[in-house]
């Protein structure tokens, strides 16, 4: 669903990262209105989340880097770094 030239994506996160995401769709998921062409990194900065706290994105069964540009409606899991090991 577009809003005035923007677009909607869904970001999911668990553990500590989830607290920073402030989910509003379900326990893990936040609906984000953003501009087409922005990278995950830029979207995270817009949300006030330090991109260093995200190891990679995971969408449709594959790993994407933080310079991935989401499409409208895309659901992206934000994977935090491993807690060591």
């Amino acid at each position: 669903m577009k809003r005035e030239g923007g677009m909607v994506i869904y970001l999911k996160a668990g553990s500590e990262l989830r607290n920073r995401l402030n989910p509003d769709v379900d326990y893990y998921t936040r609906r984000v209105v953003t501009q087409p062409g922005k990278t995950i990194r830029e979207i995270l900065v817009d949300l006030g989340i330090n991109p260093g706290l995200v190891a990679f994105g995971y969408t449709r069964g594959r790993l994407v880097r933080l310079d991935h540009v989401p499409k409208d409606g895309e659901i992206i899991t934000l994977k935090p770094p491993v807690s060591g090991g």
């Binding site: 790993l63 807690s83 060591g84 090991g85």
Partner: protein
Amino acid sequence: MANGLAGTTLRIDLRNGEIKRFPTDESLYRNWHGGRGIIAKILYDEVPRDADPLGEENILILNAGIMSGSFIPAGSKVSFGSISPLTNGHGDSNMGGHLGPMLKFAGYDMVIFEGISPHPVYLYIDNEKVELRDASKYWGMKSLECEARLKKDLGEDFEIATIGPAGENGVLFSCITHDFGRQAGRTGQGAVMGSKKLKAIAIRGNRSLHVHDLKGLRKQVKGIIERTKVHPNMEPWQKYGTSFFMRWSNDNAVLPAYNFRTTYYPDVDKIDGDQLVEKCLITHKACFGCWMNCGKYTKAVIPGKPEVHLEGPEYETGSTCGSNLGMKDINHVAYINWLVDELGMDSMSSGGVIAFAMECFERGLITEKDLEGHTLKWGSVDDVEHFLDMVVNKRGIGEWFAQGTKRAAEKIGRGSEKFAMQVKGQELSGYDGRWAPGMLLSYMTADIGAHHNRSWTITVDIAEGREKVEGRAKIVVYLQHIRPLFDTWCICRLFWGELDITHEELVESLNYITGWGVSVEETLRISEKIWNLNRCHYIERNRANGRFFDYPPARSWEDKIPDGPGKGKGLTKEQIEKMLDEYYDARGWDRQGNPTREVLEDLGIGYAADNLEKLGFLGKPIPGGIPPVRGEKYKPKAF
């Protein structure tokens, strides 16, 4: 016993083959929780302070903890422990796979090995049948080769742990291998096992394990299964394991490259998780009772070499034997992983030793003549293979490197100590701490030398300020209590760290299993007690103030990160000293890094204070007293 314990402890005198069985002492588990905790207690009580780690007086302990095998998520681990020949202090290493649960299903909680066998043996356990069998036909075999052979000879349903030629030959960073690719890697447990002429352990059991409240445990575990099935982290974990981490580590300037010279590795895309899954994967592989299946069973295919199968490389091996050695092909990293697995050497320490040697070669401190006419260039698999052959067989200068980077640097001299990347004799695992002060402090103060399983703080460092050293110490102390708890319980901490299983839930599980009614606070106190006992033990064995041993290699403060996102970053010596001061204050130790009587008595181990006092290393009383609670749980600031 309906408390998660199998009921019998074995004590084996390898000198004469005597096998004694004792009822498992439940109070020992109540007070020390098992695994690393009981190992700490037994080593402290029984091993003479001047015992040679590779000599007759060292004790090797195999302990399956309190929760292994009990249907708890990832209840798969087992701990090996002995005085570490690398650090000359308490050493323990835990291992996933299926050995711990099988030990319990055979009816045993712990096996204690004393003395040295006159000839090679392996331990054979088949329920009540416990024998030391002649291992002469297996002695000399590589680890994975030996496991396959024992399974063929004894039965596929035996769980096997082996050492390789490295352990037999006393390479100090030798490991113990199991399940075709899981290791008790760190602290040189394989060298101790080899010094005892113990080649392998083979276990089969069909007994039932009884817990206090199976209904309650089952309901809890089923709930956790349902919850974690939809956890966002589950699928990426199942697909990539820890190998996905390489790129993040590089982007955030903590990936070790070229012997920790830099943290920027432009070729990381050639050796990361994507490459592993795309080019090498055969199957995902799980430990007992774990549905994260982070293990990746893979193949390494290099033209001119036979195809080999291995488990890995996971992040630690991918970094320490990948970017740290200048490798640019995932197959090469996998091949090196396979090599060290077969030879029976800890991959992290191996990576550290090889990288150190590569830098020595680059600087002309060792030459082709020293290397039997070979080179040791960054990125060369063939050079690594030849070098490891020299190390395992202790030929020429291989004998120096077989003792780890610390001792090798002492032999080579000429300033090489600066870039021997170790603390207390154990090589760093896969994180550079120059722009992650909490991580550096974690390495400096870990009881077993530079290992991250005690404390890992990189996201804290990123969130709180990577150049700020204040405030890290209390968090490191807290992590050093909670993370090693998993090594006492003998379960995998990745469920807690990655899938939001809370400490409270795990204590609930512990109580379903044991019926003890333990609290979260009590588990942290037990962990703190173990930590302090190991510190006292280390000081007593090494006869100097604790602070003396808590410094990182000089590269950590003399060399700033030269390029990449972390260019120019690094700590000063003054900042390192400041972090240590803050750490000791947080622990209730004096500024020399020695535990005080007040904190030891508070933890119920006042006898350790008496021992330190006799040697002149008891911590001086702290004006104002010790902190009432040591360690602080990290609470991130809101944005």
